[in-house]
Symmetry: C2
């Protein structure tokens, strides 16, 4: 679509992939899926390209990640790497990026996408995106809802409403992370989808929705926009105003309150790659279920994930172990069972306690 | 004892401690017991010192290990680091070292000791050694037998004979590694001790025993000795003759055949440090049974051994794992359950198959 733009949200600083993920090298810059060579961010831009080419892609990230993000995406114009001075959740981020896109093309259709997810069936994904953009063109704020495959309690859900167009439904309600029983009921009902953090809208529609539901943010964004349009110093305005913006998600701040909200159901092998366990699930594995870098030695070992981010060659040898995650970098080695993968946070907490900042 | 000398056999090239042990850095050079700081070889010399000071210690090793061995033992005169041109088991090694000691002191008493064992109760150990040397002074070939603590099938045994002196028995028989049933019978009988590879003798007595039981070796050693005594080139004679020596142990070649063989029972917390499992047993451990280098992060982890031989700081983090061995060096990381520790040989075999010589 010739007036479709993408805003990729790449501000993450996840700790769940320590020691691979660091403050300066967060999850989206890691090659966590498939053959372990393409970063999640690079994959996001690549699979979008047939629908939205890189020259119409904007990437919002933190100031300290802007250079690394630009290096990872040489095909995206450097000026389209947007550096937020401080993190303020998704509403200020999306509002500011939308204003920038609208400056160049007031009729812009905008697709907002996370930078750190995995999608197995990319053709189906693009079909869903095209449908969501078409619905956005008619004035809706649109989201994509993932058809649930398990009663996940870690995601928000979207309750399906009536049909607007083939494959496009009203979003009846946004539901926060449910408890186990509700999650099971949601999956059984087939009337609830996972909220995957993807949003589609006309730039002007989002601008109006922010002005209405988050007026303080709307006014601040207008001030930044004026500074930019009038040849003023957008950077100075941004640095002055952005830190004062409310730290609120677009879901809470806008989507849950607005009227014309649509959802396009999607089923394209989505994963939010939430832990080393899910990295193992998504990895290419050998006949024994091991996902290993070339050169790894595995003797009587199965269903292990080994990841090697060290610059120097350092051979990992596994003997007689199964269902383990082993990750090495230049300065750390992690050994954790796959089913304990969430507990890697405890390591990060301990490093903070010890003030080992160079490992964070 | 003023005429007592020690010959420490430090020619090992064990693979059971990969990736710490390498061809150029074998087991005896590793700090495998206690606090992980003193090498087994350095401990051998240190605990011997009250009985045999370093200036009367000789160390027999391989030519490729001579420099590293000398660096590890600065207190031992460099000329007393004896480099065998090729490995030929213990009989040629002991024969040659004994000849060298005898050149300086024809009445020398010689204690031959392995370089890669651990001894918990050093005072008791020295008491046993003094008794063994006293028995050797009376013309016996003496060995120390370890009071068995389990029906080990990996060691040779010595059957006790009649008493020669208080705490000194005749060695009735040397028995090769037994099967499980025999090992259990040996332990139950209290008449069998472990052969720990320690030998004590008058230099002249050993020389005569070799001449009698291994005449070819005896003749070769005489030729080397003549070259040395007559101001000839001992090195050239050694290089010419040593490779042709029979590769035979002193146990098989001499001890099992000679007549006046004595054994001194010892019970001083001995271990041959045979695997990473036994390194864990001997290590200083925290309240959760973990033996960890400073800086290691352990969350909900117990009974693990971590060893770090890397030059650069690289933090190991264990989460939710128990009974594991994790060893890192500059070029390798091993993860293996403690009870599979013997299988580290499989890694070495695989590395040989892959011709990864730099890791061997």
């Amino acid at each position: 679509m010739s007036n479709a733009y993408a805003v990729i949200m790449a501000g993450g600083s996840g700790t769940r992939f320590w020691p691979a993920s660091r403050q300066a090298n967060p999850k989206q810059l890691l090659a966590l899926a498939g053959d372990g060579r393409e970063s999640l961010l690079a994959a996001t831009v690549r699979r979008l390209a047939p629908l939205v080419p890189p020259e119409r892609v904007y990437v919002a990230t933190g100031a300290h990640l802007a250079d690394a993000t630009a290096r990872e995406l040489p095909e995206v114009p450097r000026a389209q790497i947007l550096a937020e001075p401080v993190p303020r959740n998704t509403a200020p981020c999306i509002g500011w990026a939308t204003a920038i896109v609208a400056r160049g093309d007031p009729n812009a259709l905008v697709a907002v996408l996370p930078s750190d997810h995995f999608i197995a069936r990319e053709d189906e994904f693009r079909g869903v995106l095209a449908r969501a953009l078409a619905a956005a063109a008619t004035g809706y704020l649109v989201t994509v809802g993932i058809v649930p495959t398990r009663p996940e309690t870690g995601y928000g859900y979207i309750e399906l409403g009536g049909e607007i167009a083939p494959g496009v439904r009203r979003a009846a309600r946004f539901v926060e992370k449910p408890d186990r029983a509700r999650a099971e009921a949601f999956v059984a009902s087939k009337a609830h989808l996972w909220n995957a953090g993807m949003f589609f809208f006309r730039a002007g529609v989002m601008k109006e929705a922010i002005a209405k539901h988050l007026p303080e943010l709307g006014a601040g964004l207008d001030a930044i926009d004026r500074a930019a349009r009038e040849g003023g110093d957008e950077g100075a305005a941004l640095a002055r105003l952005f830190p004062g913006f409310p730290s609120i998600s677009i879901d809470h701040g806008v989507m849950e309150k607005a009227d014309k909200i649509a959802v396009v159901p999607g089923d394209f092998g989505w994963s939010d790659v939430g832990s080393w366990e899910s990295a193992w699930e998504l990895a290419e594995k050998d006949s024994r279920g091991n996902a290993l870098p070339l050169g790894t030695i595995a003797v009587d070992a199965g269903n292990n994930l080994v990841r090697d981010l060290a610059r120097a060659k350092r051979t990992v040898a596994l003997v007689g172990v199964s269902d383990l995650v082993v990750v090495q970098t230049d300065d750390a080695v992690l050994v954790i069972p796959r089913d304990r993968a969430q507990d890697v946070r405890a390591v990060v907490e301990e490093l903070k306690r010890r003030k080992e900042d160079e490992l964070l």
